[in-house]
Amino acid sequence: MKERMILDVSRLPLHATGTASPTWWGTCAFMLIEGSGFGLVIAIYLYLMSLAPHWPIDAPPADLWAGTSLTAMLLASVVPNIWVSRWAQQRNLKKVRLGLVLMSFCGMAPLVFRAFEFPALHVRWDDSAYGSITWTILGLHTVHILTDLVDTLVLACLMFSRHGDNARRYGDVEDNALYWHFVVITWLPLYACIYWVPRL
């Protein structure tokens, strides 16, 4: 078929940024998948609760300190996370490096508290359906923290390598920051479920 050139795209930027980038959309799609997963576990938690004569089943409500500290820590990490995102937008290599190192610690610190959250439930996963769903919720969320932590660590290494100063890398940093926001935000309803719903 004959072709007729009617549009020259050679002046377009070489990398789409922000919401124009396919990676951003891909990250959103994955967040939607995982968000559906989190919505689902909350629904199951409430479903099992509606069936049980007492809730929690054969256990006291979970101790608050570990989960609450973790929540505070996650909320606090939002601030540096916003900074990193902004620095990445500004293509400021030095600050992004600093920010990623900072965020790596922000990813690791909650894991310490998470380790105390499991015993704070006072129930084992195989004791009752209550134990099963709470352990599953905590486990699922821990996997998300870990995934993002590994991603942050790898990105931090990348930024210190020769591949660092690259529009594509900055886009990855922004998406990683977006994902960390997701990890923090999804934790809030889960936290409410595990720690406060049984106390209502």
Binding site: V9, S36, A129
Partner: protein, 637 residues
């Protein structure tokens, strides 16, 4: 390589056509040899693999169905024993749903969507390669387990507690559940790719109201996958956890609930039907206009119907649970919502009829299958309305009536359009035409064979024959009809045999097809058959719904993409205005290794929970290898 972007030397504006094609081929094609094939991220290569694999699973599943029909031809037959029969019907259902129907529809999307929206590769092509290997591993897991006599025997919806720790000895149910994880993982990956490809990579000018209906349907399908699959992933994982580490999700004695499984399964399971059916709707809406020589009637209502079906799909899972004894009020609500799905389905049928009415039908094989589809699917839809009624369902639930119903929906509603689609796009995929003569034979044998096989099952169901029984007693009045059905199934299989023969024969020695043998209107026909690795020499520009009909002689295109690295055009979501030139990843074997690492972890985790910990390490390593930049032209920007 340091070539300044925008310089004409490296873009497609400079050289003549032959030189440009040579450069693009060099940039986009995969390496030769085994590892070149493994590393390929070309959406066409992967989709072709996917389709062939899914068709192999279709043939295997068909053989299982024949085995079941032989067993049921006579009462108290001993052709297959109870244990094997239970494995076979479980395999048949799981195989057809998870290894054939969903993957083949997604594979068609992987092949067609990038071509139809006028881009050079799918979004996240490495994820696409990964998805295929994972799918293959899941299929192998299931079929190897069948060969080794450890195949699941709990039915394709594996109700707890039959599939649970106490009643499902051995690893049979775990293998089923993990096979689900494999196929869901691959389906989710493809869904993400499709959503992003459709939203971000459309040719300039292809605004939302100019997207081909097939692409619309694939977009809705992908959204359904994204929303529905987490439910089944959760269900299958918790089932394995119940069996392996003793969680209590499905144990009523410790606060769990047997019905929780059904809620989770059908919350996925009903949308699953539309995940299979909506692509078929898209295929029909795209193929039909070509063979009636006029644009589709009611583009907007059809798009609305697709979206409405997608939304409603989440509101009717309970109609699979009408006989578990739920409260009346809930049942009435779900009756109404299940009935309501007939409205979008009706809109689709009426629009197709109107298109047929106003057009001039050309009776080629694809159109024959579309007509067969309408005849059959309307019956399936109407029996669907029947089972949506709680009292009606209380008599036919879990009987052969339901078996007949969903085969009418799935074969009539999805496989007929799929065969039409294969006849229609085969010339594009292989460059060769399929046989019109064999195609007609296949159509009549499949169409007649299908109806004589499955229609009597409605009657069997009303006569009280439950499904999933490996035999029945001679005194029950089902013998004659069952024998008839079994004989008819031979006719149906013969039709499929001819169809497969036609595929194999045409692939090697079919008549060469030109660029656009059907004189169709969508963009995939504006490039070679089979399309070159880079799909389009220049990205087309679109200003109507039927670009090849509105300007039959000339294709408006863009210029300015680089030819020395893999580059795509990114456009805006709604109006498809060009936004950027984004690089597309090179071939890589890392997705293959990542898939192997993931498979090892998933299979190992059937046996030990520690697999999650230790199995994640190789996965992380392969993923880092996958994403770590290698300094290729595609990594710069």
């Amino acid at each position: 390589m340091t070539i300044e972007p925008g310089r004409s030397a490296a873009t497609d504006a400079g050289p003549n056509e032959a030189e440009l094609e040579r450069r693009l081929t060099q940039t986009w094609s995969s390496q030769r040899g085994f590892w070149g094939a493994v590393a390929s991220v070309d959406h066409k290569v992967i989709a072709r693999r996917y389709i062939v694999t899914a068709l192999v699973f279709l043939a295997l599943g068909g053989l299982l169905a024949l085995a079941m029909r032989i067993q049921l031809a006579r009462p108290e037959a001993r052709f297959i024993d109870a244990d094997r029969y239970n494995q076979i019907f479980t395999m048949h259902g799981s195989n057809m749903m998870f290894l054939f129907a969903v993957p083949v529809m997604e594979a068609m999307a992987v092949y067609l969507v990038p071509l139809m929206v006028g881009t050079r590769n799918i979004a996240f092509p490495r994820l696409n390669a990964f998805s295929y290997w994972i799918f293959l591993a899941g299929g192998l897991l299931l079929w190897i387990s069948f060969a080794l006599d450890t195949a699941p025997d709990v039915g394709w919806f594996a109700y707890a507690p039959l599939s649970g720790p106490e009643y499902g000895a051995g690893k049979r149910a775990d293998i089923w559940a993990q096979m689900i994880t494999f196929t869901e993982l691959s389906a989710l990956a493809i869904a993400v790719e499709i959503v992003v490809t459709v939203l971000k990579q459309r040719a300039p000018g292809m605004s939302l109201d100019r997207i081909p209906l097939l692409v619309w349907s694939m977009l809705v399908m992908a959204s359904l996958v994204i929303m529905a699959m987490p439910a089944i992933m959760f269900a299958s994982s918790t089932l394995i956890m119940d069996r392996l580490v003793g969680t209590q999700f499905y144990n009523p004695a410790e606060g769990g609930d047997a019905l929780l499984w059904q809620h989770l399964f059908w919350f996925f399971g009903h949308p699953e039907v539309y995940i299979i059916f909506l692509p078929a709707v898209g295929m029909v809406s795209t193929i039909l206009p070509t063979f009636v020589r006029r644009p589709i009637f009611g583009y907007l209502p059809l798009v609305m119907a697709l979206i409405a079906t997608g939304v409603l799909a989440f509101g009717l899972w309970v109609h699979h649970m009408f006989v578990v004894g739920l409260p009346r009020l809930g049942e009435s609500f779900f009756t109404a919502s299940s009935m309501a799905i007939a409205i979008p389905a009706g809109i689709q049928i009426f629009c197709w009829l109107a298109t047929l009415w106003a057009g001039r039908p050309v009776f080629k094989v694809p159109l024959l299958f579309l007509i067969g589809f309408i005849v059959t699917f309307v019956i399936g839809g109407l029996t669907g309305v029947m089972v949506a009624s709680v009292p009606f369902d209380s008599q036919v639930h879990d009987t052969y009536f339901v078996v007949a119903h969903f085969h009418y929906v799935l074969i009539g509603g999805a496989v007929f359009p799929l065969i039409a689609a294969i006849y229609y796009w085969f010339p594009k995929m292989t460059g060769r035409m399929m046989s019109e003569r064999l195609g007609r034979w296949a159509f009549w044998l499949i169409f007649i064979g299908f109806h004589v096989t499955f229609f009597p099952m409605h009657i069997l169901g009303l006569q009280g024959m439950p499904r999933r029984i490996y035999t029945y007693q001679p005194d029950l009045p089902w013998g004659t009809l069952n024998l008839f059905v079994s004989l008819s199934s031979v006719v149906l299989s013969l039709g499929f045999l001819i169809f497969f023969i036609d595929i194999i024969r045409s692939w090697s020695s079919g008549r060469p097809a030109g660029e656009n043998p059907w004189n169709a209107s969508t963009l995939e026909w504006a490039t070679g058959s089979p399309p070159p690795p880079y799909n389009f020499r220049a990205i087309p520009v679109v200003d109507t719904r039927d670009p090849l009909w509105s300007q039959p002689d000339e294709l408006p295109v863009t210029s300015g993409l680089r030819s020395d690295r893999r580059e795509l055009l990114i456009s805006s979501v709604v109006e498809a205005l060009p936004e950027a030139r984004e690089s597309s990843p090179q071939d890589s074997v890392w997705p293959f290794w990542a898939a192997i690492a993931t498979s090892i972890m998933l299979i190992w985790s059937i046996f030990s929970p520690w697999a999650i910990v230790w199995g994640s390490v190789p996965i992380a390593v392969t993923l880092i290898g996958w994403f770590w930049p290698k300094g290729a032209a595609e990594d710069e920007s």
